[in-house]
Symmetry: C2
Subunit: 196 residues, 2 copies
Amino acid sequence: MSNIVWHKTTIKKSDREYKLKQKSFVLWFTGLSASGKSTIANAVEKKLYDLKFNTYLLDGDNVRHGLNKDLGFDEKSRIENIRRVGETAKLFNDAGLIILTAFISPFISDRKLVRNLFEKGKFLEVYVDASLETCEKRDPKGFYKKARKGEIKNFTGISSPYEPPKNPEIYVSNNGLSIDKISQEIIEYLKKNKYI
Amino acid sequence: MSNIVWHKTTIKKSDREYKLKQKSFVLWFTGLSASGKSTIANAVEKKLYDLKFNTYLLDGDNVRHGLNKDLGFDEKSRIENIRRVGETAKLFNDAGLIILTAFISPFISDRKLVRNLFEKGKFLEVYVDASLETCEKRDPKGFYKKARKGEIKNFTGISSPYEPPKNPEIYVSNNGLSIDKISQEIIEYLKKNKYI
């Protein structure tokens, strides 16, 4: 028991970045379902790992079954989903890690809210552009088929709009190139702009 | 456009731990308001930093104004607060970091739910024991005074129960010792039990 004022010795973001020998930032992948966001993000993460960087990837696999498992797919829930992913990415960023996220995040306004959580230049929007036709042909989980039948409601591209970024930091087209080439393009951008 | 099956090359927790040269785990601090959880957690984090470990600390400061800013302090919100902190800690754990959390987390059932998110042995409950009298005398933010006047409802220790852990992995008493000594006790536990 005491009246001593406790001085918090707090480890700061800059301390963590110094120890990890890197500067943190976020790569925010956006695009239609089956556009390849998650696959490309994983490939980029692998390349960053091989280059000795410390990263983490948030996507439906690790977020929708855990942190956001209370959320559905109605509009309100989808907005909250993206808000929480943004806030979690911010915590990872504060921890000094390079963070990648792969969510459809169809609305410009939601992505803008997330962008505003970060310092200028730390939020990089990566637009994975693939035509609806391409995505619908891929349809690895059969979602498009179900959406066309009306079995899934508010499905982006079918019954709910996708608003492409007007000025994404990184644009990649995933209508033909190999995943390796596309992910390498992103690595080149990061090198050229001194993120890595 | 292709029918190629994309093989996800996924960086796993074990890969990250290998790179970070550490094994991840969570130090979950629980105790009354003003028991010193956050101060001790910060001091432990500083010591871990000096020992070259990579850590992150979740507490009210970085969670309540961001990820959980939509939550109030009613019972339902407090349960959800702890659930989200647990899930976020799990993500950080998956990222290979040693994660510390400092929240009152007054209910055994909530802490048990969080414990069950982690592999056996990876969740370490740290009970910061300080008497209600001690905490109320400290009252750095004037919360106890307000709670006694009824201006804050459901305040742990006054108008809402605190359920101490029955078998915490780590027990520390914060009724007199210096923060430095208390945090060193925790470091010794981690060394002795080969966490660090």
